[in-house]
């Protein structure tokens, strides 16, 4: 690329035009950059904001109001609070694992029982928001799930494995009362991939009132 040089003859239209073109390109790039940056910031911000609203809605559910939508136009309701006591973290999970629900919090995967019921309950969340913590769970860690009916099911991590999304090998009707938390793998991956990290836990005592 030839560098635009100020014309010695005192005729600057060419550089000026080129400068204007550059300014337009610069403006476009800035706008595109800001939009992308905004989206990039909005996704985690939305997840963080939503948890506050979900926490409020779930508190009302626990108080006996039944299914409470966290905001009037929501297509899902909070169904459980998943607590990692050792990490000091808690997240309110939503019904369903559609992209819409997962944007706000962990989703209770359709077709699996509620935590603490016979079978394998599966909750999934984004690896880069709520379930980044899955990487820090180790076998023996406690996981508590506060259910809609106020009961708390307590689980203990038994292990973790990496599976493909369509070959999880998870049987929602398997005997025993189990909990599986799922998120994308690798945890620090930049692009979306087919692998999922599963943290498996088993209920260690019958649910308490």
């Amino acid at each position: 690329m030839t560098r635009p040089v100020a014309a010695p003859s005192g005729r600057p239209p060419l550089p000026r035009a080129r400068g204007r073109g550059l300014a337009v390109a610069a403006a476009l790039l800035c706008v595109a950059g800001l939009v992308l940056l905004g989206q990039g910031v909005w996704i985690p911000a939305k997840a963080a904001l939503a948890q506050g609203l979900l926490e409020r809605a779930f508190a009302r559910t626990l108080a006996g109001e039944g299914a409470v939508r966290p905001w009037p136009w929501a297509d899902t309701v909070p169904v459980a609070r998943i607590v990692f006591p050792r990490l000091g973290e808690a997240y309110v999970a939503l019904a369903g694992s559609s992209g819409q629900a997962l944007a706000f919090g962990p989703g209770h995967v359709e077709g699996t029982p509620e935590a603490g019921e016979p079978g394998t309950a599966v909750y999934a969340a984004h690896r880069d928001t709520q379930f980044r913590s899955l990487g820090r769970l180790v076998p023996g860690d406690a996981i508590a799930v506060v259910r809609r009916d106020g009961r708390t099911a307590r689980f203990r991590v038994t292990g973790r494995r990496i599976v493909r999304w369509d070959a999880s090998g998870l049987d929602p009707h398997a005997p025993g009362r189990r909990l599986v938390l799922a998120t994308c793998w690798p945890l620090d991956g930049l692009v979306q991939g087919p692998d999922r990290l599963l943290v498996e836990a088993e209920e260690d005592a019958p649910t308490e009132p």
């Binding site: 550089p15 000026r16 400068g19 204007r20 550059l22 300014a23 390109a25 610069a26 403006a27 790039l29 800035c30 595109a32 950059g33 800001l34 939009v35 992308l36 940056l37 989206q39 990039g40 910031v41 909005w42 996704i43 985690p44 939508r69 136009w73 297509d75 694992s97 819409q100 997962l102 989703g107 995967v109 359709e110 029982p113 016979p118 394998t120 599966v122 999934a124 969340a125 984004h126 690896r127 880069d128 928001t129 379930f131 999304w165 369509d166 070959a167 999880s168 090998g169 998870l170 049987d171 929602p172 009707h173 005997p175 799922a182 994308c184 991956g189 930049l190 979306q192 087919p194 999922r196």
Partner: protein, 721 residues
């Protein structure tokens, strides 16, 4: 949505002896190949087709050769009882545990399993799943012969057989109850004993019951037989299948044929046939399918069967509407279409729903009336009341539907109530129908069901499940309660066909207002009779102390009253009627559990009780057979005295072993390598995990980069200006 890849034959991992040498690498390679081939490694219903899988602790299961199979099926009206006997051989020099995977029709109930190892016969009994598993594991550890049948999925079962001696042949006899499929007047029966292309075991992937040293390669001549692997269709194991079917249709029979195999049909009576394979035996390389049609008749034909079970009698009545029941002039209809445009319907689901609704609108005839309701968290009706299906109204409705977009919540109750609202509940001569298109992604099912039950009146509710519909079971129940039907539309290319089927049903209800009344006390299922649509039979099962008195079926065929009184003492003996009744009750309990009418625990208790009473393998119960005496390593001689040597009825050694009675073929069939398929079978339809990665980091990075570039350019531009 658990995307189901169409199995791509070309992507099936090809055997690669060099790589499969290593027990651990074998499955890994297979899995990798499957991953890189870009598809699901294999579908369970493809792979688990009746092959014994020998397992080593921690290793992937591999299939052993299947030798011979015999199937004896009795069709009693709407049910079939199948007894499958298969002979397998442990070709290794080790004591092994075999796991036998077999697919069955979704509604099949496995209720009996018998195992013969060498000359020992072990009959299984039903126990709670956990208890059965524990008993089996204990027997396995003690060196006893044991077998365990578990339901993995409603259509996938496993048999585990412990302590099979070196070179021994194992016979497994499974008996199950199957429902005959009916569609448009044609009944069909499918026998899923297909031998999908088999691969011989990878080297010693066996469970060593003796914990001995590594087993030798079960296929020492694997290199010599490598060529046949290339074309499984031509070089597969012969795997002969013999087959006999006693067909007691319950109605005068028309044509009996098989599209899959040449058959020989003997006439026994007007309604009975005996079917055998024309060639005597066939290579079990595909499903066997038998279809039969009733001889044309004027009134509904009724099949009546009875069976004495555990001190009571089970009765089964089958009503087939006449094939020429279509009324000369179609009854005018009032149709309310309800379409879900909530956020969960976004994307493909919404397009399918809209397309389906437009198909429905197009089929309306002059004289019909209609309305359209859409809902998310709000609802909107196109017209304030039902309007004639003329061009003006239809155009307006179509424009409305075309403009729908998916967003918002799913408030199903209000639109449902609005659709059921009937201004003229007593009007005769018109059909009132609600066609409800949704993905069923709701949480207040109980409310929905009670609204249907209390508000349905003369209206019939037809549920159309759009998309992946995880709530399919609920949709089915809603349709049941609403006396309509449930149609599942899973992809855009199904819209035309499925909607046409549904609309044909909508236009010609054959039998309505059905009631079934027993003159004696009886526990009847279903508790509420559905309408019968074109081609559908009514199946009523009941359990009563004694089959006496009458069963009165009453209803209306195309508006004309119809009644039939059946004398129960005239019922023919039928096999498995008690199981049909029990399975229907178990289905009711499963529905009740899902709909919340019963809690999970009480529904499970009810299912468990029914399963134990009737010996059915379910989600909660398994069949387990345990030998009384340890046999490993002393062999069968000691144990022989403890067990009856009589072969149970139904075992046909000649069929299984050939007329020579030679118990074990001199040479095992050609073996080929186990592909990735068996690994997958353990998880027939695993939970599909959602996408749980966002791209905000990469968006942020790119955004920051672009912003930086833009600012840099801006600085340059300013300097130039």
């Amino acid at each position: 949505m658990p995307t189901r890849f169409v199995p791509d034959r070309s992507s099936r991992p090809l055997p690669c002896p060099a790589l499969s040498r290593n027990l651990l690498i074998g499955p890994l390679v297979a899995a990798l190949v499957a991953v890189f081939a870009g598809g699901q490694p294999a579908r369970a219903d493809e792979a688990g087709s009746g092959a014994l899988v020998l397992r080593r602790e921690g290793g992937a299961p591999v299939e052993a050769p299947r030798l011979k199979a015999d199937a004896a099926i009795t069709v009693s009206g709407p049910t079939a009882r199948a007894t499958i006997t298969q002979a397998f051989r442990n070709t290794t020099a080790e004591w092994v545990e075999g796991t036998y995977l077999f697919p069955l029709p979704e509604d099949a109930a496995v209720d009996s399993m018998k195992l013969v190892i060498g000359d020992r016969v072990i009959v299984a009994d039903i126990r709670e799943r956990q208890a059965a598993r524990q008993a089996y594991e204990a027997a396995k550890a003690e060196g006893k012969a044991a077998a365990l049948t578990e339901q993995q999925r409603p259509n996938l079962f496993t048999n585990a057989v412990a302590n099979i001696g070196p070179g021994e042949t194992v016979l497994v006899q499974i008996t199950y109850q199957q429902t005959v499929r009916q569609s448009g007047g044609t009944s069909s029966l499918r026998l899923p004993t297909v031998a999908a292309p088999r691969y011989s075991p990878a080297p010693p992937a066996l469970h060593l019951a003796s914990d001995g040293p590594a087993a030798p390669d079960p296929v020492p001549d694997r290199k010599a037989i490598a060529a046949p692997v290339l074309d499984p269709a031509r070089h597969g194991p012969v795997n002969p299948l013999t087959l006999s079917i006693d067909l007691k249709a319950g109605f005068p029979l028309g044509a009996v044929r098989s599209a899959t195999h040449p058959i020989r049909v003997e006439d026994v009576s007007e309604s009975e046939r005996r079917v055998t394979l024309a060639d005597g035996a066939t290579a079990a390389d595909r499903d066997f399918e038998l279809t039969w049609t009733p001889a044309p008749g004027a009134g509904p034909t009724v099949g009546l069967f009875r069976e004495r079970v555990a001190g009571a009698e089970a009765v089964l009545a089958v009503v087939t509407p006449p094939t020429d029941a279509a009324p000369a002039a179609p009854t005018p209809r009032d149709v309310v279409f309800v379409i879900d445009n909530s956020g969960s319907m976004g994307g493909a689901s919404m397009r399918q729903a809209k397309a389906s609704l437009l198909v429905g609108l197009d089929r309306l005839r002059p004289g019909d009336r209609f309305n359209v309701i859409r809902f998310d968290h709000s609802m909107e009706t196109v017209f304030s009341d039902i309007v004639p299906a003329d061009e003006t109204h239809l155009d307006r409705a179509k424009a409305f539907v075309a403009g729908l977009e998916a967003s918002g919540g799913t408030e199903m109750l209000a639109p449902l109530k609005a659709a059921l609202q009937d201004a003229t509940p007593d009007e005769a001569g018109r059909l009132r129908q609600v066609v409800f298109l949704t993905d069923g992604a709701i949480g207040n099912e109980a409310q929905i069901f009670s609204a249907i039950a209390s508000g349905r009146g003369r209206t019939r509710l037809f549920m159309v499940g759009i998309g992946s519909a995880p709530n399919g079971y609920l949709m089915r129940h809603a349709a049941e309660l609403g006396r309509g039907s449930f149609t599942q539309i899973g992809s855009a290319d199904q819209v035309a066909d499925r909607m046409r089927e549904l609309l044909v049903k909508l236009e010609s209800p054959a039998v309505t207002d059905l009631t079934a009344t027993f003159s004696a006390a009886a526990d009847v299922t279903p508790s509420q009779m559905p309408d019968l649509y074109r081609g559908e039979p009514l199946t009523v099962a009941a359990r009563m102390p004694e089959a006496k008195g009458t069963l009165t079926l009453a209803g209306r065929i195309g508006g004309q009253p119809w009644q039939a009184v059946l004398r129960l003492d005239a019922a023919a003996d039928g096999a498995g009627i008690g199981k049909v009744w029990a399975r229907a009750k178990i289905g009711d309990a499963e529905t009740a559990r899902i709909t919340g009418r019963l809690t999970a625990d009480s529904a499970d208790a009810a299912i468990l009780q029914l399963a134990l009473d009737h010996g059915l393998t379910t989600r909660l119960t398994s069949l387990v057979a345990i030998d009384a005496t340890p046999r490993r390593p002393h062999g069968a001689r000691l144990a022989r005295t403890d067990l009856p040597l009589n072969l149970p009825a139904g075992w046909d050694f000649e069929a299984v072993f050939g007329p020579g009675g030679e118990p074990v073929p001199a040479k095992p069939p050609v073996q080929r390598r186990a592909g990735a398929a068996p690994i997958q079978t353990a998880a027939a339809q695993p939970v599909a995990l959602p996408q749980t990665a966002t791209d905000f980091e990469i968006r942020g990075l790119i955004g920051a980069f672009l912003l930086g570039l833009g600012l840099w350019l801006a600085a340059r531009a300013r300097r130039l200006a």
